[in-house]
């Protein structure tokens, strides 16, 4: 990206401040989200991120950059869509986590036609399984619609600690 991020500083519990330079307007993306709807002319932002020592990997794209943002090209979340069923009263979305089908979200059948579930941030380089179970009267369940998603995205930043001894700078995993 042609933007230069000039300042990153922790300014509160889970809050990080970023400044950047580039050619406005800017798009800002973090963890697959478009952090600001549309574009902005701001050159500074404070983001809330519950990491400990590593700030959120903010990606800023300016107007001179024609590349697709990596957060858009390789988003960390899956969006699952399915077609509604006339007689269903709702749908339950489950994810296969640690060998257990785990309830994630429930939707009412409201005549919308298409439904969508957006997952949590998914682990990189791993296959994630989801299923959508239609629910009928008396809590009858229909056949699950299975989804399998192989996630490849920008990996998480390492949490490191720096030390200096004997002329060497060492970066190791933070405790």
């Amino acid at each position: 990206m042609s933007v230069t991020i000039t300042f990153i500083q922790k300014v509160g519990y889970g809050a990080w401040r970023y400044d950047w330079t580039g050619t406005a307007p800017f798009e800002r993306h973090v963890e697959g989200d478009n952090a600001v709807r549309g574009t902005t002319t701001d050159t500074s932002a404070v983001l809330l991120f519950q990491g400990s020592n590593e700030p959120a990997p903010l990606e800023v794209i300016d107007s001179a950059d024609t590349n697709t943002p990596e957060n858009v090209q390789y988003p960390p979340r899956a969006r699952i869509q399915w077609r509604g069923i006339p007689d269903a009263i709702g749908y339950r979305v489950e994810q296969y986590i640690a060998s257990v089908w785990t309830h994630k979200q429930q939707y009412m059948e409201r005549g919308a036609g298409y439904y969508e579930y957006e997952s949590d941030k998914l682990a990189d380089c791993a296959t994630h399984q989801f299923r959508v179970i239609p629910i009928y009267d008396l809590n009858d369940e229909g056949n699950p619609l299975l989804f399998s998603v192989f996630m490849v995205r920008n990996p998480d930043a390492p949490e490191i600690a720096l030390s200096y001894a004997g002329g060497d700078i060492t970066a190791e995993a933070a405790a």
């Binding site: 509160g12 069923i85 990996p155 700078i169």
Partner: protein
């Protein structure tokens, strides 16, 4: 079988069905055999569920020719819609009956192949069609066109894999002139005028044009200037003008290595070849697995429809097999996104139609380093340069100490996955060393969000924040506030700051220290520059920021109310006279030199000699002025002042008025001369204050104050600026005798 028309006349299905026409949804199982009922996706379609006003509409298929982007289905009536694909004119209205299907193309002027096939699911919703249904179209991963991801072992050894699609004429009419080609990934070729490959081995292809739109790694088709294929190669890396081709990237897809020419045209192409196969008894051959090549087929890498595989005619219901051979060279580059594209066209009912199909896949390299460390010395790291260390943590960088002084090493570690994607962090950690290679405790970080605003009565509110995060051993605990009022940037090397202890910001702010203080009062119109630094008290180390905030004081300090009114009944208004003053301030007792304040005048006396009388009366202005019997001399006045009084007494004959510690006005009592470098009479330029002294020291100016009884305020009749110029709100009145003053 449904009757299809137009671009929908020819449909593409997965092969590998257990029986003709049964579903087969696994793209990886498209190994030939029988046609399934599962259509091969050309593009992925994501419905905008936030605003779907046509819940009855089912998106069955969008043609690949539409390309990626946002498309819309727009209702034109209760039972009709029209189609607006990305970057193409919207088509005419198409009717969709209840429970029916329709194909809606884009604008017929070249848009007949940009289409969507819709079904109206009236059993789900009987609502009339209305509003707009928005779709996001994107090239899909791992569909039958893209193929499965290439695992590391296959990447390292190289692999060819195969799969088959079955095309069927779903219409009532015969399709003619069905042609296929490999579709270039970038429409425009580049000329290899700047460098060509040799007859064999590794090398580069170089252009005076640009490869900037090409994939980072992939396949290049080299054609002679007349269009004859010379060779297909694989490049592992590129710049905007150079493709890097390894030896293992030569002779791709059945081509033979050949030296290039300077007028060759080079195309970005997917790494595939195509072949067609006529079915026998409704089936094409079935291969054992995806790495087994079909037999007796003729492969084509042609990017021209006229010279690719073709089928003269396909009758109604007829099928034909399309094989895709995908090659991965040994040692291919890891990639999170490799693209396959193919195209076919045909004639139906006298019109030509063209369809593109796309797919994506990934290439894995488990030998890629899991972490990369970049270090910049006195600058941010160069992320495009080779990493300074790679692999599993810990990573090590050996410092070369500077010959003199200190060096700041800015360090970042990023994680990499086996597909070559890096973490997006940009936060730098720093280590500073001196010329002995010893670590130097860095200066505290700069404050941020420094703001200075006028808040009235000549005062300024100053705010700033400082974060201790990252300043481990060098965290600041004081604010160093440098202030100047002469329009000059504060110089931390020479100016003395005001030190304020830091206090933590309110609860919840974490490591942030906040400054909120009030400065002044300063006279109105004084140009203030404030530099705020963070400071560590025990070492005296300060942050290194040098840019101040600036503002001009826009209010007058400490005024008094005036025009008092008291009424005792309607006819008993009791008037007030303003305060009456008469006070003296001694400058030198031995020689009886003093300053006198009285109503409407401030005076300097040398015993019984009146040096000057500043007069000011807001009601009776006729006598306002700087009255003196002393001569005015234009000349330089300089030198360090002694003492801190508003007037410096040197001897019985010599006084100075200093400003900010420097002599700027000389009063020669022996010769009755007042020397100043320059003078300006302009009330609008005089610093204003209500200070209650005859001479008010505003650090960068001396304000000559006069008590105005009518307004009960001290007003500024003039000020002596830091550069020695005397600004006057009243005129200079030289007279011969004191009686006239």
């Amino acid at each position: 079988m449904s009757v299809a028309t137009g671009i929908d006349a020819l449909r593409v299905f997965h092969s590998g069905a257990v029986a003709d026409g049964l579903p087969q949804v696994d793209a990886a199982a498209c190994l030939g055999g029988l046609r399934s009922s599962t259509e091969a996706a050309a593009l992925g379609v994501l419905v905008d569920v936030r605003q779907n006003y046509m819940p009855a509409l089912v998106i069955e298929r969008v043609t690949g020719t539409c390309g990626e982007g946002v498309a819309e289905v727009r209702a034109t009536g209760d039972d009709s819609v029209r189609w607006a694909p990305p970057n193409f004119a919207v088509g005419s209205a198409v009717t969709i009956e209840a429970y029916g299907r329709a194909v809606a193309p884009a604008n017929t002027a070249g848009g007949r192949s940009h289409a969507v096939r819709l079904r109206r699911d009236t059993a789900y919703s009987a609502k009339a069609l209305a509003g707009t249904l928005r779709l996001d179209l994107a090239k899909p991963y791992n569909n039958a066109v893209g193929g499965a991801n290439i695992a590391n072992a296959a990447r390292a050894a190289g692999q060819s894999d195969y799969r088959a699609l079955i095309l069927q004429n779903a219409s009532d009419l015969t399709i003619t002139d069905l042609r296929f080609r490999v579709k270039p990934l970038v429409a425009t070729a580049q000329v290899s005028g700047a460098g060509q490959l040799g007859a064999s081995g590794s090398g580069t292809i170089e252009t005076a044009g640009s490869f900037a739109a090409w994939p980072v790694c992939g396949f290049a088709r080299v054609e002679q200037s007349g269009g004859t294929l010379r060779e297909i190669v694989y490049y592992t890396d590129r710049t905007d003008t150079v493709l890097v081709v390894p030896a293992a990237g030569r002779e791709m897809l059945g081509t033979t290595a050949a030296a290039g020419a300077s007028d060759d045209n080079v195309y970005s192409v997917p790494g595939i070849a195509l072949a067609i196969e006529a079915p026998v008894s409704g089936a094409i051959q079935e291969i054992a697995d995806d790495t087994t090549s079909p037999t007796s087929v003729t492969w084509s890498t042609s990017i021209a429809l006229a010279s690719g595989p073709s089928v003269a005619s396909l009758t109604s219901g007829g099928t034909y097999g399309l094989w895709i051979h995908r090659q991965t060279p040994a040692g291919a580059t890891a990639s999170p996104r490799m693209e396959i594209a193919l195209e076919f066209d045909f004639t139906w009912s006298g019109n030509s139609y063209a369809e593109s199909m796309y797919g994506l896949y990934r290439v894995e390299d488990t030998t890629l380093p899991s972490n990369l460390m970049h270090v910049g010395v006195d600058a941010d790291p160069d992320y495009d340069a080779a990493a300074d260390d790679t692999g599993a943590l810990p990573l090590v960088y050996t410092v070369t100490p500077p010959g003199a002084g200190t060096q700041e090493h800015r360090v970042i570690v990023r994680t990499q996955n086996p597909y070559g994607l890096l973490s997006l962090n940009r936060y730098l950690r720093t280590v500073t060393v001196d010329d002995a290679g010893d670590i130097v405790t860095p200066d505290p970080s700069d404050p941020y969000d420094v703001q200075a605003v006028n808040i009235g009565t000549g005062r300024i509110s100053l705010r700033a924040n400082y974060s201790t995060f990252g300043d481990v051993s060098n965290a600041a605990d004081q604010w160093a506030i440098y202030i100047r009022g002469d329009g000059v940037n504060p110089d931390p090397n020479t100016d003395t700051p005001t030190l304020v202890s830091m206090s933590a910001a309110p609860i919840g702010q974490g490591p942030v220290m906040g400054l909120l203080t009030t400065l002044g009062p300063y006279p109105k119109r004084m140009p203030i520059k404030i530099l705020v630094r963070s400071r560590k008290q025990s070492t005296g180390a300060e942050s290194t920021n040098t840019t101040p905030v600036s503002l001009t004081v826009n209010s007058i300090a400490d005024g008094s109310a005036w025009q008092p009114r008291v009424f005792l009944g309607r006819s008993n208004a009791v008037g007030f006279a303003g305060e009456s003053i008469l006070t003296d301030t001694v400058i030198n007792e031995a020689n009886n030199i003093f300053l006198r304040r009285r109503n409407g005048a401030s005076e300097l006396w040398n015993d019984t000699q009146l040096v000057w009388r500043w007069r000011y009366d807001s009601i009776d202005t006729e006598r306002n002025g700087f009255w003196t019997t002393f001569s005015r001399v234009a000349g330089s006045v300089s030198g360090a002042a002694v003492g801190s009084g508003v007037i410096e007494y040197v001897d019985a004959n010599t006084l100075y008025v200093p400003v900010n510690g420097v002599r700027r006005m000389k009063i020669d009592l022996a010769t009755s001369e007042i020397t100043i470098p320059a003078r300006t009479v302009d009330e609008s330029l005089v610093y204003l204050s209500h200070a209650a002294e005859a001479i008010h020291d505003a650090t960068w100016a001396k304000l000559f104050q006069v008590y105005d009884q009518a307004t009960n305020n001290y007003v500024t009749a003039g000020h002596l600026d830091v550069d020695g110029r005397l600004y006057m709100a009243v005129g200079w009145k030289t007279r011969s005798t004191e009686a006239e003053l």
